[in-house]
Structures are given as C-alpha cells and as structure tokens.
Symmetry: C2
Subunit: 414 residues, 2 copies
C-alpha cells in the first residue's frame, strides 16, 4: 500500500520548523496556503472537483456516475491540515491523507459508490492562531457567530477578517452552511489517537464513543508595572504571583476531579527582565468526563485565582473563550462502522479528551471517528508518532467503511 506513503511524504516538509522539528501550520498562513494547494492537487489528480465553502473548508467530490444536481447524503471523510505551534505531523493531516488514499483503494477494488463521496479539510481546527478551535466547522454549524469570528485576533493584532482578506477570501461571506445537513449523510473523521489506550491493548484502530466536554478560559491578571529593582515588595502589585498560585490550583483541582487542566499559553506585559509585569494573560485548557465536573473544576480554579489576586491587590478577569459540551457520537453510525470492520475482530471503543471537527459537526449531521494507534500517546508535539504500518491499516479500514456505507442501504435503524 505504497499509495499512503507517497501521498503522506508530499506534505512532510510544509510548515516544519527547522529547529524544533515541529509544525507551524497556522490558519491562513503561508503554510496553510501551501497545504490548500496540495489538497487541490491531490483532488484534481483523482478527478475530484474541489470547492472551498464560505468558511474556508475544502471539499473534494467523487460523485456516482450520472449524478446530477447538488450532492446529498454523502459519505464525507477528512480532518484538518492546520497544527498547534510545534505540533506533530499526524494530528489532522493523517485524516485527510487517509481519506484520499481510501478513495484510491475503493477505486482499485472497482467499487462504484451509490452516494456521493467527499474528502474534506476543515479550516482552523486547532485555533492556534486566533484562540478559538474548530472555527471552520463551528461557523458551518452556526455555533460560532460570524461577527465574533471576524473579530478574533492573533498575537500580532491581526483579526481573522484581515487574515482572510490577505489570503484572498471575503470574510463577509463566513457563516452557517444551511445545506450541511442535507449534503452530508455521515462524516467519518480518522485521527491519530492522542493517548496510549490502543497501545496498552495492542490494537491498531479504535472507534470513538464520546468527546469530553472541554473549554478554554482566558485569565487576565492585571497588576502595576514598576521597576523590578527599586520597588519595595510591599509596594508591588505583581500579577505573576497570583498566576503562579493559579497554575498549582489548576493542577490540584484537576487531580480532585479526575480531569485535566493546563496553562500552556501565557503572555506577559511588558515582558521585560527588570520590570514588574503590568499584566499576565494565561489560558486555561480544562476537560472533564462530564459537564458537572468541568464546571465545578473551573469554578474552583477561578475562585483560587480571585483569592490570590485580591491578596496582591491586582485585578482578575476570566473569560470563557470557548466551551464545548460533551459529544456522544451517535449509536447508529458507530454500530455501522464496527460491523464494517468485523473482519478485524473486536474494535475498541474509546472516549477522547481532545476536541475535533467531528464533535462540532455532530450537532448537525451523523458523525463517527476512527483512531489510529499512537505508541507513545504523545501529541501536539514534534514527537507525535504513528507507525506507517498502522497508518496504512487506518486508510484500509477507512476504505472498508467507505465501501460499506456507499454500497449498501442504510436507514435510521442500522
């Protein structure tokens, strides 16, 4: 199955940082444009028509012979091409490459689908640049307001609207995709696993059960800039101390709730060695098995932060930038997937703590996810890894699912 290997290697150099070895494929960046060109090329080579929807999501269409009119009830598979800062090669692109390769496999078998097939790449899934994840799928499903999206701002002060304009898109067009429910019969997203569950049971592939509820909260600790040498300790309003307290409060609250809470992004102003900061902004990423636990945990972290801020005479503002409820992938497509893969034996069914476009689209269309084993569990890092053998297996499994879905009748009952 050299098809996977050759397509996979085509994008391995795009947006890769020479020092870290990680990827910096941010929305509407040069690397993003290169990956979009690659997508169009991969589709065109396969005789698939490409459309970019109003939100920048890419769709490559394989229509049944004689199909007329707009696609409907399609088997849609894909993922995203953008990355976190210094991310790995697999998170996102594996699902897009596997989708094209699955099309190749199905065609090589001489199978003709009875419903349209689409390969997709959703725009700005990681939210690395503008701070909100899954912008493309959120806009399409109406869960992100277009005005709010246009105002999102990156670290250099560029808004999403400006970035889209510079990339030759019209940000006035973004918004809900009213045809989504009719067009998509099912969306199946293949993704590298981001934990070690498959490695622990020695299986290459899993099907998703749920996505943990999760969100991002921006904590802004506002102090008073002053000289780090000449300002007496008692005269200080240094926001770094309350931030430091909050880092430990988050870890402790996560432990208590059997959840996870992380401060991975921090911006300090003025960020001078000899200046007490005027402000520390830090982003809390928090996830829990259910929504009650998530709310309780974040409330606890916020309370501890407020207490520390009050003690130091500084201000605290906490803003929920995005909060995603629990996603329970529907029973019907999941059962269908497991049936299509019965020849592989028992397929593990796993929850995931990571957000995905499939989780966003689940509000509007039937969705399912396949995971490919990650031997170390490391993700969002240059160390992220899956074996080529498992990746090939993933593409083959996706082809099996595509054949099953597009060649047999399926109603609500399956």
């Amino acid at each position: 199955m050299a098809a996977f290997d050759s397509l996979w290697t085509e994008i391995l150099d795009v947006g890769r940082d020479g020092d870290s070895g990680g990827y910096r494929r941010f929305a509407w960046s040069t690397a993003d444009a290169t990956l979009r060109e690659w997508f169009v090329g991969a589709a065109t080579t396969r005789g698939m028509d490409v459309e970019e929807d109003r939100n920048g999501n890419l769709w490559a269409w394989w229509l049944p012979p004689g199909w007329t009119g707009d696609p409907r009830g399609a088997f849609v598979t894909g993922s995203h091409l953008d990355s976190v800062p210094d991310g790995g090669a697999f998170d996102g692109p594996l699902g897009v490459v596997s989708a094209f390769v699955a099309v190749d496999i199905v065609r090589e078998r001489g199978i003709v689908p009875r419903v349209p097939v689409a390969v997709t790449a959703f725009s700005d899934e990681e939210g690395a640049r503008f701070g909100v994840a899954c912008v493309g799928s959120r806009l399409a499903t109406g869960s992100l307001d277009p005005d709010a999206a246009r105002r999102l701002t990156d670290i250099d002060g560029t808004t999403l609207a400006e970035a889209m304009t510079r990339a030759g898109r019209d940000p006035q067009h973004i918004g809900v995709d009213p045809g989504l429910a009719e067009r998509v019969g099912v969306f199946v997203e293949l993704h590298v696993e981001q934990g070690r569950a498959l490695d622990l049971v020695d299986k290459p592939i899993a099907v998703a059960s749920t996505i943990w509820p999760h969100g991002r909260w921006r904590f802004t600790f506002g102090g008073e800039a002053n000289h780090a040498g000449t300002t007496r300790l008692v005269d200080r309003h240094d926001p770094m101390l309350a931030f430091a307290t909050t880092v430990h409060a988050a870890r402790s609250a996560a432990r208590d709730h059997e959840a996870v809470a992380t401060f991975g992004k921090i911006l300090t102003a003025p960020n001078g060695t000899n200046a007490i900061p005027s402000e520390v902004r830090a982003w809390l990423d928090a996830r829990a098995a259910d929504e009650a636990a998530l709310t309780a945990m974040v409330d606890l972290i916020r309370a501890r932060a407020a207490e520390a801020a009050a003690g130091d005479g500084i201000t605290l503002e906490v803003t929920a930038e995005s909060v995603t409820p629990i996603v329970e992938f529907p029973e019907a497509p999941r059962t269908r997937l497991r049936r299509a893969l019965a020849h592989l034996g028992d397929i593990p069914v796993l929850p995931t703590q990571a957000g995905h476009d499939a989780g966003i689209l689940a509000s509007t269309v039937p969705t399912a996810m396949l995971f490919v084993r990650n031997p170390t569990g490391i993700s969002h890092s240059p160390e992220e890894f899956a074996t080529l053998e498992d990746c090939r297996t993933g593409a083959a499994v996706l082809a099996d699912v595509m054949v099953d879905w597009t060649t047999t009748d399926h109603g609500e009952s399956t």
Copy 2:
C-alpha cells in the same frame, strides 16, 4: 528655564506605543536610530562635535578654547536613550536632555570650562532587547567580552552583531575603549529616582551612595510537549508547575533577605493553549544590599526550583546572564558634588537598587550620580513621572556641578 521644556518635548513621541503610552526604544531599533539623530542634532545646534565610539556610545564635545589634541580629564555627563518595554519617558533620556540643558545654562552664564565637557548617551543600557544591561558601557570598560556580546540574541533570533550590521555599524569593531580612563575626568549621571525616598523627605535632588549588587539569571525549565487534553496528569512533564513554584520561592527568599527578586519575563514554548509546554524560560532579576545576601538568596531560589523540577521529572538549567557587584560611588566626586550644591541645603545621599552606566564606568573612571525626585516611585512603566519643575531643578543643579568641576582645580585629595 524653558530650555529644558522645549528640548524635552522634542523626543516625547519617539518610540511611544499608542496603546500603552509606554516607550519601546530598543537598542538598534528604528526608535533608537531616531533618538541618535536627535542627539546629533542637539549637539550640532550647540556647536558640539559628535563622535560615536566603537560600541555605539555617543559623545558630544565642548572643548575649551584653543584645546588641541584628544580630550582628556573631561567632565562627562549623560545617561542613555533606550527603554525597557513600555518604559517611561524619564529613565535615561532625562539625564541626556539635562546634560545638554546644563551646557546651555553654563554658556548663558558666560562661563568657559578649563577642561573638556562631553554629553554622552550610552548604548543599550536597559538590555531590553538582548538580555544584558549596559552593553555599551560594559564593552567600553572591558567587562563584557566582544565575542559574547556579538552572540547575544533577541526574541526574534537576531544577534546583536546582525542588529548592528543592519543599523550600518560594524560589530567587529566593538570592544574595550583603551582611552576611557584618560579621556574622562569624571562621569556624572543624572537620573530620575526609581523609588520614593526623595518624596518622603520632600527634596528634589539626591546624590548616590551605592548601587546594590544585582543580576539576571535565566531559568530554563525543560519539560515534554504533549496534548493538554489527552495526556494524563501522571504522564505529564509540565515545566509550568516548577516555574510557578519558583515564582513564589523568589518572593519568599526576597522577603527573608530584605531584598528584591522578580520574574518579569517569561517565554513559553510552544505557547499553545492546548499544548503542555515543552519549555518555560523565565528571567530572575535579583538585588540585595550586599553580595553575600544576593548570593544566598539566589542559591535558595535555585535550590527550590531544582527541587520542584526533580519532582516533576523536568530539567532545570540556571544561567547567570549578568551579575554586577556592589558599586560604592567614590567619596571624592561625591563630596565635590555636595559642596557644589551647598546652596541648596542638605542634599540626601541615597543607595539605589537599579543598575546604571555610572555603576559600570565606576570600575574605570571616577563617577557620581544625581537623582531627581519621582513622586510616585514608579519606574519602568508608562506611569513613571517627575515634575517639570524638578526636572528644571535637576538641569540647573547639573550646571552648578559642571561649573564647579570645570572651573576650579581638583586633585585626588578633594
């Protein structure tokens, strides 16, 4: 004394950030170039010849009539023009503007100096861009190795050598100034006070006694980047926690040593909301009344950091970027200054916790400092402030000192 006001206002807009109202006058930046042009203009207007020495320090010369050959035994006064990020208007430029105004005042009085007078602006005093303070004066006195200086790197990866080259300078020329000791009879630096001591005793001017020993230490906490959602707490090597512990350790150690310790600058990689950091780099600014206290305090902070790092399975590297021993300003010039200002009544003599070029030059030439009252004590902040009345007084006082020094004999005994 409108002379001060008009010269002062000429540079108030240079390098000022529209949002914060603070200054971003970093070494070898566009703002720095504009200030250098202003310096040349102010000198030229006064008929003073300008030279920029091999290290980028500016010297504007007023030579006694008939003086031939190189200047020696000069009365040198000035400060620096660069700023910390979002710094105030006064720290640095006040000393340069006051120096030019003092020349004006002395000339208006019809006084002709018997030794050369120079107004100076030392290069890159704050170290805001390349992380080492007083680069210009350290190079001149030989306390900073030229090779090490050339390799200093800013946040964008630009080296000092590259920045100087882009600014049209030759970084191969930097290094010790062998003529410094002969050229400079005394260096008097006028500076805004960076505490509230003068406000508390209701005096406009002070003379410096000592500069606290101080330094910058870079703490690099090295962890393992991973997905903030999917990585179990027990599998994490998150460097943010040990950093947070160290922030509190620094505050606690400073309290115990009646000193100050600050983490004001932090760089997190990859700095993604949903990524556990691979690395947190943070800079400790620490200062104490004597060197034993400083060493003990920093050792304690380092030990607490190492303990936290070991507990989380992360690495810690601590690098002293610059450590400046205590500076005791010499008795002779200080006595001379107080004598020249006897008409103002008792002049307070104050230690300072801030580093200054005068402290660096003290290793090679006689130096003294004058402080101008800062009513709030706030410095390194857009809020930094001194009244125009006190600033005018400062320039007049500096003129008195200039007259005294340049028109009367003075030997080692005074």
